[in-house]
Amino acid sequence: MTTMVPLFDVTLRGLLSRRRTILLVLLAGLPVLIALLIRVAGGRPDADRILDTLVVRTVMPLVALVIGTASIGSEIEDGTAVYLMVKPIARWRIAVSKIVVAAGLTALLVVPAVVLTGVLLGSRNDTATTIVGFSVACLVGGTAYTAAFVALSVFTSRALLLGLAYVLIWEGVLAGLLEGTKFLSIRQATLGLAAAFGIKVPGDPLAPTISVIVLGTVLVGAVVLASWRLARFEVRGGD
């Protein structure tokens, strides 16, 4: 664990660049802002709908995408990753550190957004259940998303683009049309987890047990794949 502390430090400082932080705070603040506007305009409170459509389907994957692909992808791209690669540190430790920090930061942005949105709008059912259910689902789902995007960024320099395609095209369109692809959707598993708390989510999400298995598999798979890839990672010379 001691050897991972400097990895946590450098990852966190790298992620908290001024521009990226502002973008992420704005993104995570979007549902809160909309909730506030609804409240001010006197609209009908319905936190479940906003949390489902805006947070789980949009904000959470995008925040995870930006943070996940930047945690090591940006270091690989700008060449600073070489300073990690020439250290006597097991590669799985690097992968786990990157995922832990990125997932923690994602949770730190998304979960408060869920809580604030829930508090501002309230639920037609039980507000506390909605807030707790979506918070837990976003914590676990956001971690799975982040881990997947960290792993993706170790394999390709186009992780941001591919991640966006996964969120918008695969999960946004295909997973809704093709029933069998739900098992490959982090979003569906996240909603399945929320449903386990008694929250009504639209459509037919995955069963809670299946959701946990899917999210767990994504998380473990991402750690294993990222570690495997980092162990074989090559840094090309300039000539």
């Binding site: 400097p6 430090d9 790298g14 700008d78 020439v86 090309r236 010379g237």
Partner: protein, 337 residues
């Protein structure tokens, strides 16, 4: 100093500095009994159809070795192979006797200064050195970082963000990061890039003293003067192949297909020239600008015979100067071959 005989045209000249095990290019036994700290054994690396490094072998022991070659020759690829950052397509790289590829533990012995300038811009020089010390698991990272910063003469700017550094300062910060764990092997890719003459001199003195302490130091450069001033021996890489290795003056002497030239100032140039023409080692003499210019195929034979010939002819020698054993001369010959 030992030197191998002139190899056939497709093999590089190999001169083995004493104390350094230099493996001959075709897998012959190392010249010295001391196991090299770093051994490159028939290593090739290709990217698709492009061969970046082609069947290179050598060994490195304590001392400073210059890795010389024009841009695009494969220097950085070779350094990255040695640093375990690239997998050889063929052959093997051994660090302290074990494979360099996929062995993070070897980085306890290695310090690397990569060519790319990128250093975490939000860290100060001291923080960067400290980060490297912590990642290396050094017992007292603060003290180690402070020592490394002082060693590279960066103390005054140590608490400024690296993003505000000049190129030369960034190079020194990178070197500080590579020194924090007191490595026995240092691999430096174009370490003098962007340094002013004073910084360059300081760095050269530092590297020389580290080599004198028994460290194995390999630095790449395309600046001949840097290599000539600093390196005990050179590895000349051209088009992915090892063109020559060893002390460059020894390499020059192995180039027997190219005459050695000397200029001599004496008390009687004309008489000396006439006497020299009678010597079988000499096949060209020219009188010009108050000097005798001599061409010979036998470096050692000529240098032994010159004093004897001058004495026999009653000529006093004022100055004897070899004119083509500079690294520049050797390098330009090797890359044109």
């Amino acid at each position: 100093m030992t030197a191998s005989p002139m190899p056939p045209s497709d093999q590089p000249p190999v001169a083995s500095p004493s104390g350094t095990a230099a493996a001959a290019p075709n897998g012959t036994a190392p010249a010295a009994a001391i196991a090299p700290a770093l051994e490159v054994d028939h290593v090739s690396r290709w990217y698709g159809n492009v061969v970046a490094v082609n069947d290179i072998s050598f060994g490195l022991g304590p001392g400073v070795t210059g890795l010389l070659g024009p841009n695009g020759a494969g220097k950085s690829t070779l350094l990255h192979l040695m640093a375990g950052l690239l997998q050889p397509s063929a052959g093997r790289v051994l660090v302290e006797g074990a494979s360099a590829w996929r062995r993070p533990a070897m980085y306890r012995h290695i310090g690397l200064v990569p060519e790319r300038e990128a250093v975490h811009p939000y860290l100060t020089g001291r923080e960067f050195a400290r980060l490297n010390a912590r990642l290396q698991g050094v017992a007292d990272p603060d003290a180690a970082a402070g020592r490394a910063i002082a060693t590279v003469d960066l103390t005054d700017a140590a608490d400024r963000p690296i993003g505000t550094y000049s190129k030369g300062m960034r190079q020194r910060a990178k070197l500080a990061g590579a020194l924090v764990h007191d490595p026995t092997i240092l691999l430096l890719d174009e370490p003098f890039n962007g340094m002013d003459p004073r910084q360059r001199l300081h760095m050269m003195t530092l590297l020389r003293s580290m080599a004198a302490d028994g460290r194995t130091i390999l630095f790449s450069s395309h600046i001949l003067e840097e290599v000539e001033r600093l390196a005990d021996s050179v590895l000349v890489v051209y088009a992915g192949r090892l063109a020559a290795s060893g002390d460059f003056r020894s390499i020059r002497r192995l180039m027997t297909d190219r005459p050695h030239t000397f200029t001599v100032r004496s008390s009687d140039d004309r008489r000396l020239a006439a006497a020299l023409m009678a010597d079988p080692a000499v096949f060209g003499v020219e009188l010009a600008d108050g000097r005798v210019a001599i061409r010979t195929a036998d470096y050692d034979g000529f240098t032994r015979a010159l004093a004897r010939i001058a004495k026999a002819g009653g000529v006093t020698l004022y100055e004897v100067r070899p004119t083509d054993d500079s690294l520049e001369s050797v390098f330009s010959y090797l890359v044109r071959r």
